[in-house]
Symmetry: C2
Subunit: 682 residues, 2 copies
């Protein structure tokens, strides 16, 4: 742990703030992680890995801030990744499959993808023989696998992939090629330097016929030396805003031969004579299962990353004293910035969203589990609706996490711009989630298509479950009937308001889209012209589902001070969604909420914030982040911000004495020659 | 220039798109930079510096992406900075004072601050003798100066600074000290390794009395060796999301003695007997002039940085083909993504904002110049209003630039996450502007205070000029009278809509603030409770001023195809501000605009976008960015995206053969040991 920090003003402020918490924090930790056993197991696993990484002494500068060259960050990722990999081979692996030691998504580590993408694809797409061959090799830790789908020229549009796997009956093998520059595989994690094998998505060509994209297992490297196999060019995509601990890479194939048995044949087969056959009992899109599972998991990651960013910002704001409120008496005492409404309204709103995303992730997981159990019985009837709702929640959660983490970072002022604050890495990591595993604007539109499809059939008896709340007749021009301000704290009022907006936007976007088609536009033109509104409808729909999940989770709690706090937080989420957010998605455009009602909502938000500020530290502590996990000089549990910032800053290699060589070089080569030129015109 | 790129699909798409431009691009370049002479001089200066840096061959990977350690990026900054410094000593310096070779703010270079902060403070705060001593030394290039104000414990709140300069009559000198940890100077650019001298802001203590913060010139380093002077600890603040080319640093002082004459004595003096005297004819806040000038300049930088990000995204979107529109016939041709409404509505909205910020920066500059010429005659009467309006425009412009650049980056999908796209650096650079030189939430509130002050006096004859449009009686409950959809294209309608919102929010926030005070809240509580609304009022006010400036600039153009395009762009800015933006700041909450009217506005936006898409390339080309300046593999003029991405990626040192040493080390130390453990449970 390092030496006990000296008592100072910041430590005292933090202790005092923590002392004001109105509920037992451990109860909330249990509520977040599901059970006391999970909390304990998770803690123990983290502690083992942090001991292995020697990262528990918070007086020491974490290595990722010391050496930031591309090479050094990759080596740091290997070090982190191997500690988690070793631990999961010995213990339960659930705590590292989706999070790395720095609480970023699994694909932040060069060891992170084997289980979740490589093995998973074999499970879903392999034949029984293939599963029994490959899965034990993976389980025994002999394979570090990558999943190679996206190419330089194609991301979202899978049909456009260009890599080919051409069957050669003479050698009973596939010949893999990258026929164009744009067919270069680009982005897959661990592809650059670390993976031994890849599941490669390539166009299957046999008997001169293109059968579309299929999965193949391709050995990439000599497992002894790590050198690429003959005919394969492999490399790194270079520096990125985050995820530099892993080697997102590129790959090109020049007549690389793999045995016929390396095509995953669970869904389609190629015989030794080159004949192609689809297995008759497999749904054409069964492979989407893996993608759906990934998206469901990503929502949980968004909750954790947003909560981590807010935890740092809340702790910093609790001990950072700066100025006094406008018009306040200047008595020499400065105000801790969390007491400024402009600060606490932002931080608590984002905190309420982190919890909202948490409950949304549970709902998403339930929806996915339901789909998976149906899939097991060959029932694919809910695939479209599952896909639509998970797409929408993924787009919503990643947007809120990225924007919220960035706003939390900004709320720390200049301190949030230091890499050692830990915030830039969290922000950039959350930001990537808006793009990877389905670009958000594409996903919003997929969610919207489902809404347009069902909009004319809302009185149907077989509405998908996520749409059932829309059933019945919708009356435009309706007004919210809440008259007393505290009515806005009632869950049923909140849900009614969210429902009205959702119905209004779904109904309207469907009406305008149809009108556009009727007036002679092609459906694609009509879609394009109304896409902003369609996306708003999808967002309003998702926000209804999320509020419903938040309310249901909180109602299930037994009466306690914790339940009171969580109820307030849920109301804060609902009411700040009403008064902030995008104008596209307003609750008031049609007059449903009047200006007077919105003023009442704003007043309630003020009151909720006053109630919740004393619990801000407890609500972030409850996520049970370790100091080593946050790796933030300004966001550690004890609040000792300034001492740690200076201690870490002084340990930076660039400030150490032997690095003055670099600085000396700078002075000799650039600065001294630039100075002392005398008498020239500036 | 490197070899001519081979013709390919991307180059053809770009040429075709550029060919569709409806106006002569050079005319718009002249309009942006002011005169054909300035355009030519600027081009020539950039070209000289780019030749000196050997950065004109776009086939070569720019060095900032190759070596990314803290040390290497600093050396890269010295190299860049010295090229600009040398050029400005020989030529006109206006083209490098506020932009570096990579189009980021001046404080991105370790040579960038001497003129704009160091010399400027001496000009404003020095006595005539001090000016004639120091300014020639600066003009002849003998000093690389820093401006050391912020401390670890204090940024926005200048009164809280703790560094002391205590007068010692025995030695006729000041003794400078950092008495606490939090008094450590933290953040000043070039302080880490590069500056020879600093203007240090410290509390002046003489005869045991604290006279508050005053400026002192402190020599920091031996100009021959670059080593810190006795008693001074200097270092770097470490890695940051951007600005790594400069050495934002920290400094601690331990009994450092400087001659009495090093206190800048233009505004106050300390005699050899230690007596302190303010000069009677100096306004207490005259020193703010420098800060105001900086903020006015920053607005221009926001315009350039946002335009640069949008230029990259527009070029990429012009050649990136991905999928087809929903419901479109799949005929094998993929759509260039700029044709998706979800893409072009974002990019053109941000582009219209880059131009809006450009015109706002001119207005801000006029306001500042007026203040400066009054200041020259000791007229400080407009200081408060100048400060308020520049604060508001700075907060507004930096918010739009940061959010817009990030959205442009996201619009490029995964490609925008590559450092070599140039976008992450631009985004993070724009993001910093929201915090530095006045944190935005602090500045919004300063703008709002001026509004609250004048709200009850809007019928007064001596309204500050920026508020004059608010004069006269305001009627709540008013409705917009526009009935036909094209009415929304009229500047007078647009201004009327913006004016109504501004008046509504100013009136309302003043009313609620006053009511809160009347009900017994302290003014600071009342402020805190209504701060969100107050900020909304400030934003609405600024947006009115900006729209006014945009409209005035465009009206002044002579009739031409360019004027038509700029008129459409101005309408796009106005109408997208109405239909996007924050719910806090809505135009419809009070029913001023009805849902039907908003639908008409949305339809007009669609039509404007259709008209403007063919001009997107021309409107970004007009900013005259060089390929070397953008340093973007995906945003160069010729559109040759994929070839350049692969060429640069292959040149990354981490992918070169000798760097396989690092990779070899990774395999030997981490991967091979992690594999081959056989038989263990995953």
């Amino acid at each position: 742990m390092g030496p006990e920090p000296e008592e100072n003003a910041q430590i005292r402020l933090m202790r005092k703030a923590r002392g004001r918490t109105s509920f037992p924090v451990e109860d909330l930790t249990t509520f977040i992680y599901g059970s006391p056993e999970t909390v304990q197991k998770r803690r123990a696993a983290w502690h083992r890995v942090e001991l292995a990484l020697d990262s528990t002494d918070t007086t020491k500068l974490p290595p990722q801030y010391a050496k930031t060259s591309r090479e050094d960050l990759y080596l740091d990722g290997l070090r982190m990744g191997k500690a988690a990999w070793d631990d999961q081979l010995q213990h339960d692996h659930a705590f590292f499959e989706w999070l790395t030691p720095r609480y970023t998504a699994c694909n932040a580590s060069p060891f992170g993808l084997t289980a979740i993408f490589f093995a998973r694809t074999i499970e879903l797409m392999g034949s029984p023989e293939q599963k029994s061959k490959w899965l034990p090799l993976i389980q025994s830790g002999h394979i570090n696998g990558a999943y190679a789908q996206t190419e330089l020229g194609h991301g979202s549009f899978v049909r456009g992939l260009e890599t080919t796997a051409t069957f050669d009956p003479a050698s009973d093998s596939f010949v893999v090629n990258s026929p164009t520059l744009t067919s270069t595989k680009f982005w897959p994690g661990a592809l650059g330097f670390s993976a031994t094998h890849a599941v490669l998505m390539a166009k299957l060509i046999t008997r001169d016929k293109d059968h579309g994209v299929h999965p193949f297992i391709v050995p990439l490297r000599d497992p002894e030396t790590g050198k690429p196999m003959e005919g394969i060019e492999l490399g790194d995509v270079g520096p990125k805003p985050s995820y530099n601990q892993t080697d997102n890479g590129y790959a090109r194939f020049d007549n690389v031969s793999i045995p016929r048995s390396n095509m995953l044949m669970g869904h389609a087969t190629v015989s030794s004579d080159g004949s192609y056959q689809k297995r008759p009992d497999v749904h054409v899109k069964a492979a989407y299962g893996s993608m759906l599972r990934t998206r469901a998991k990503m929502i949980w990651i968004c909750a954790v990353q947003l909560a981590a960013a807010v935890a740092i910002a809340v702790r910093y704001s609790t001990v950072r004293q700066q100025g006094t409120l406008p018009y306040a008496e200047a008595d020499g005492t400065e105000t801790a910035i969390i007491h400024y409404r402009s600060q606490n309204s932002r931080l608590l709103t984002h905190l309420s969203r982190a919890y909202a995303i948490l409950f949304a992730s549970r709902r998403a997981n339930d929806i996915y589990q339901d789909f998976e159990s149906r899939q097991a019985t060959r029932d694919f009837s809910t695939m479209t609706e599952t896909h639509a709702v998970l797409s929408g929640i993924k787009a919503w959660a990643t947007t809120l996490a990225a924007d919220g983490a960035e706003d939390a970072r900004k709320s720390c002022g200049a301190a949030g711009y230091l890499a050692i604050s830990g915030l830039p890495e969290l922000v950039q990591s959350a930001t990537a989630l808006c793009t990877l595993e389905g670009e958000n604007y594409v996903l919003w539109q997929q969610a919207a298509r489902e809404l347009v499809k069902w909009a004319p059939k809302l009185s149907s008896n077989n509405l998908p479950s996520a749409l059932r709340y829309l059933a019945g007749k919708y009356t435009p021009g309706q007004k919210c009937t809440a008259t007393i301000p505290t009515a806005f704290l009632l869950p049923e009022t909140q849900l009614e308001i969210f429902k009205h907006r959702s119905r209004r936007l779904i109904s309207k976007s469907h009406r305008l889209f149809s009108a556009s088609v009727s007036s002679g536009d092609s459906p694609s033109q009509a879609w394009n012209n109304n896409v902003t509104l369609l996306i708003s409808a999808a967002r309003a729909h998702v926000e209804y589902l999320v509020l419903q999940a938040f309310i249901a989770s909180v109602s299930s709690m037994t009466t306690s001070p914790l339940k009171t706090t969580m109820t307030n937080l849920c109301s804060l989420f609902a009411l700040t969604t009403i008064i902030t957010g995008e104008a596209h998605c307003t609750f008031s455009e049609d007059g449903y909420l009047s200006e007077t009602q919105l003023d009442a909502v704003r007043a309630q938000v003020n009151a909720l914030l006053d109630t919740l500020v004393p619990d801000a530290v407890g609500l972030t502590d409850a996520w049970d982040f370790t100091d080593a996990g946050l790796a933030s000089a300004i966001g550690m549990r004890d609040g000792d911000v300034y001492a740690r910032v200076m201690a870490w800053t002084r340990q930076l290699p660039v400030n150490s004495s032997d690095q003055q060589v670099v600085v000396g070089r700078g002075w000799d080569e650039f600065i001294r020659p630039a100075l002392n030129r005398g008498g020239r015109k500036l």
